[in-house]
Symmetry: D2
Subunit: 281 residues, 4 copies
Amino acid sequence: MGFAMARNLLRAGHTVRVYNRSRAKAEPLLSEGALLAASPADACAGVEAVMTMLADDSAVEQVVFGENGIAGALAAGAAHISHSTVSTALARRLAEEHGKRGQEYLSVPVFGRPEAAENKKLLVVAAGKTEVIARHAALFDAIGRQTFVVGSEPWQANAAKVCGNFMIASMIETFGEAFATLRKAGVAPADFLEIMNALFGSPVYAGYGGAIAGEKFTPAGFALRLGYKDVRPALAAAEECSSPMPFASVLRDRFLQAMAQGQADQDWCSVAAVSARNAGL
Amino acid sequence: MGFAMARNLLRAGHTVRVYNRSRAKAEPLLSEGALLAASPADACAGVEAVMTMLADDSAVEQVVFGENGIAGALAAGAAHISHSTVSTALARRLAEEHGKRGQEYLSVPVFGRPEAAENKKLLVVAAGKTEVIARHAALFDAIGRQTFVVGSEPWQANAAKVCGNFMIASMIETFGEAFATLRKAGVAPADFLEIMNALFGSPVYAGYGGAIAGEKFTPAGFALRLGYKDVRPALAAAEECSSPMPFASVLRDRFLQAMAQGQADQDWCSVAAVSARNAGL
Amino acid sequence: MGFAMARNLLRAGHTVRVYNRSRAKAEPLLSEGALLAASPADACAGVEAVMTMLADDSAVEQVVFGENGIAGALAAGAAHISHSTVSTALARRLAEEHGKRGQEYLSVPVFGRPEAAENKKLLVVAAGKTEVIARHAALFDAIGRQTFVVGSEPWQANAAKVCGNFMIASMIETFGEAFATLRKAGVAPADFLEIMNALFGSPVYAGYGGAIAGEKFTPAGFALRLGYKDVRPALAAAEECSSPMPFASVLRDRFLQAMAQGQADQDWCSVAAVSARNAGL
Amino acid sequence: MGFAMARNLLRAGHTVRVYNRSRAKAEPLLSEGALLAASPADACAGVEAVMTMLADDSAVEQVVFGENGIAGALAAGAAHISHSTVSTALARRLAEEHGKRGQEYLSVPVFGRPEAAENKKLLVVAAGKTEVIARHAALFDAIGRQTFVVGSEPWQANAAKVCGNFMIASMIETFGEAFATLRKAGVAPADFLEIMNALFGSPVYAGYGGAIAGEKFTPAGFALRLGYKDVRPALAAAEECSSPMPFASVLRDRFLQAMAQGQADQDWCSVAAVSARNAGL
C-alpha cells in the first residue's frame, strides 16, 4: 500500500523521502525520483509532513516513539499524517503526544485494496484540525479519488475506518450464513449470488460474494489474521463509546473459530467458511 | 404488489381474471381489460395458470385450501404460481397437495418494492419443474426485469427469497450498529454514509442507509411487523436445514425488541434504531 | 416418566386406568392394580381427571384431538391434566377447546429425570383455575415432592417450564464455553469443576458439569434432539411475549450445529462439545 | 477484601505488615498486631511473601512496577502472591518480570464476597510452581476454606478465576432473560425463583435470583462497572486461546448497554434489568 501511495505522490510532483524496514522494498521508488531515508527520524528532516502506512498499533508505536522515531525528529508545525488502520485509543495518544511537541497530527485512514492504491482510487477519510487538513489536501488528492472529512478530532477518522471495516466484515458473514443454508437446501451459491448482484448492484458484493461462493480463499489477498486485527478495533471503539454491537461480537467469535481451526493464513473472507462447517458441510 | 403485477400482465397482452378480498382494489384493473373473479376458485376457471400474491403463510393457506379455494378448482395440468414470501415448509406442502390433484405448482417469489413492480423491474426467482417454468416464462418476463431459476423443487425458490431478505435485514442492522457507535464518537451518520456509498456503490445501501441516517421511519414503506414476518422464515429454513445463522438470531432479537418498544408500525429499517437506544442515545 | 408417575398414583391409593400406544409398556402396571384402557377415549370413561405425559406438541394433539381422543370422550366437569413439555400456544388451544366442551384443563409440567419420577421427587408446576388445582392437589402430591402454582391460566405453567429448561440449557452452554477456554489454557475441566461445585453448591451443576468434563455423552440420558425440542418452546414463548432472549438464540444455534455435526443421538449436554470443537479442540 | 484477609492472617499467627494507599483503612489492623508499611516496597522488607489484593490490572502494575514498587524491593527467593482478579496477560508478565529478578510469583485469586473473606470462607485458586505453592500453603489456609491448585503456570489460576466470574455472570443473564419473558407472560419472578431454588439447590442462585427478582440493585454490593472489569478478562482469555465464547460476547454487549443506560453504579446483577427493558418492561 505504502509503495503505491508514495509513487502517486511522486507522480503528482511532490518531493518524497521514503523509509521502509526492508530497504529493498523502497528502492524501486528511487528511479521514480524518491530519496531514501535511513530511519523514520531521517524521513522527517525538513519536511512539511510525514505520512505513515503500517500494519497495526504496535508498528505505529514503534515508528513514532521508538529509537530514531518520528516523535523526536519532526519539526514543530510539521504534521504526522497516519494512514494506518489503528485503534481510536492510539489515535488519541498520537494526537496528544504530537501536540505536546508542537507537532500537528492527522488521522487519515484509507479504504481500498492495493490495486486501488496503485490506480489512485483510494477513499481517503480524514479527521483533525480543519486548517491542517486544508494545508495538506493536495497530498490526499494525489493518492485517492475522494477525500471525506469526518471530524475535528483525529481519532474520529479511525472510528469511521474501523466501522467501515465492520460493514465489510458483516457483509462477508452474511454471505457465509446465507450460502451455508442455501447449500443445505440444494441451491447453488453462484445462483443466489447472481440474484444478489442484481439486487444490490455493488461491486463489493460481487467481488467478495464471488470469492466466497467459489471458495477461493488462497492465496490470501488479505490474510484472515490481519482481517481480525482490522475488526478488533471496531469492538474496542464500541467499548469506549459504550455502544453494544452484537454483529461485531458474532464476528469476533467467527474469527476466533476460523483461527482456531487453521484459517489464519487464508483470505479473510474465508471467515464465511465457518458457517458452512458449523452447518455440517 | 399484486395490482401492479396484474397490470403488467395485461399490458403484455395476457388475459387476466383478478380476485381480491376487497373488490374495490381490483376494480381499477377492469378498465385495463381485466375480468373480475368472484372467488379464488372462480379465478381458476379455464386458466393455464393462477398466480397468487399474498401477505403470509396463513393468507396463502386460506386462498388455496379454504372455501372456494384454488386447490379444489384448478384444472389438472394447470399451474399455481405462488409469488408470496412464505415459508419453505408451506411451499413443500403446496407442491405436494397440488401434485396429488394433478396440478402443477411453482414457487416464484420476487424481490422489489411496489415501485419496482409498477415499473416491471422485479427480480423474479423461480423453482420447480423445468418444463413448467419454461411454459410460463412469458408471465415472468411480463412482470420483472430478470428471472432466476434456482432449483427443480419449488421450495428452493422460497429458501433463496428468505435468504435474500436476510441479506437486506443484515445490512440494515449493520448500519444501525455502525451509526450508533459513530454517533457516540461524534461522527455524523450522513458523513459515514457518504463514504459507504462510495465504497459499496449500491443503491440499496444508499436507500436504506439514507433512511436510517435521517431516521425517516414513518410513514412506513414496509411495516416492521411485516418485516419480521419476512425474516422469520429465514430462521425456519435454517432450522430445517440444521444451519446455524447467528446473524439471523441477532436479527430475531432486534425485531422482538423493536416491537416490544413500540416500533411495530414504523418502517422495518427502524430496527436500526434499537442499536441507538441500546447505546443510550 | 408416565410409567413411574402412574405407579406412584397407584401407591397413593388412586384408581388408575392406563393407556400407552405400546400396550406392553403399560402391562407391568396391571399387577400393581392398574386397569388397562384401550384408547385415550377409553381412559376417560368415568374419571375425574385424565393425565397425559407425552413427547411433544404433536403427540399431545394426536391423543387429544385424534381418533378416539380425549376431547371427544372426557365428561363435562372432568379435567385434562397435561404434564407434557409443550408450547404455550398449544396449552392455550387446549384450554380453549376443553373449555368449549365444558371440560376443565390444567397445565402441570414437571421437572425431574426418570429417577426423580420413580422416587416421587418431581417438582410439579401447576397453572389453571384455583379451584380445579385444589380439587386435584392429591394427584400432584402423589407424584412429586413439591407443587408450585404459578398462574391462573394454564399456559403460564408451560411458560415457567420452558424457561426452566432454558435455565438448565444455559448452564450447560456456560460450562461448555468455560471448559473449552480452560482446556486451551491447560487447566483441566475436572479441576475447574471442583471449584464451581464449591462455589455453586448445586447438585445440578455437579451432575451436568461432571458429564461434560468427562465427555460422557453416550448412552444418552436425554437425547440432544429431544433437548432441542425442550429449548425451542422457550424461543416460541419469547416471540409471543416480544421478549428478546439472546442466550436462547445462541442455544438455538448451538443445538443446530450439534445436530448438523452428528450429535442428535448423544446426550443433550453434549451441546457443550460444540464449544470445544469451535475452539479447535 | 484485603483488610479481612490480613486480619485472618494475623489471627492465624502470621506476622503481617500492611500497606494501603489510604493509611486510615489500614490502621484498624494495627491494634490486632499488624505493622504499618509506608509503601509497597516497605511492605517487602525482609518478608517471605508479599500478598496483593487490588482492583484491576493497572492498580497491580502501579504497585509492582511503579515508584517504591514491589519489583524493585522484594528479595530474591521471596514470593509475590497476587490475589487480584487480573488478566492472564498481566499474570504472565508478572511471572516473567519477577522471574528475571530471582523472585517467585504465584497467582492466587479468590472467590467470595467480603463477608466470605471475613469468615475465612474464600475459595482460593492457586497456580505456579508446586514447591512455591506448598511453601505458602499455610497462608492460603489462613484466608480461605479450601485451596484449589489448577496449574503450574501462574496465569492458569487467573484463567480459572475469570472463567468462574463468567459462570456467575452467565447465571445472572440467564435469570434476566427468563424473568423478562415470564413477567410478560404474567408469571411472577419470585414464583419462578422458588422453583429454580428447588431445582438447582444453590445458594448462589438463591442470592442473585432473589436480588434480581426483587430488583434490589442499590446500594451496590459490587458495582456494575467493576463487574464489567471482572467479565472483560474472560473475553481477553478467550481471544488469547482462540476460543469463541458467544455467551461471553452477549454479556459484553449487555454490560455496555447497562453502562450506556445509566447503571454503572448499580449492583452488577442489575445487568439482568437490560433484558426487562429490552422486552418493553
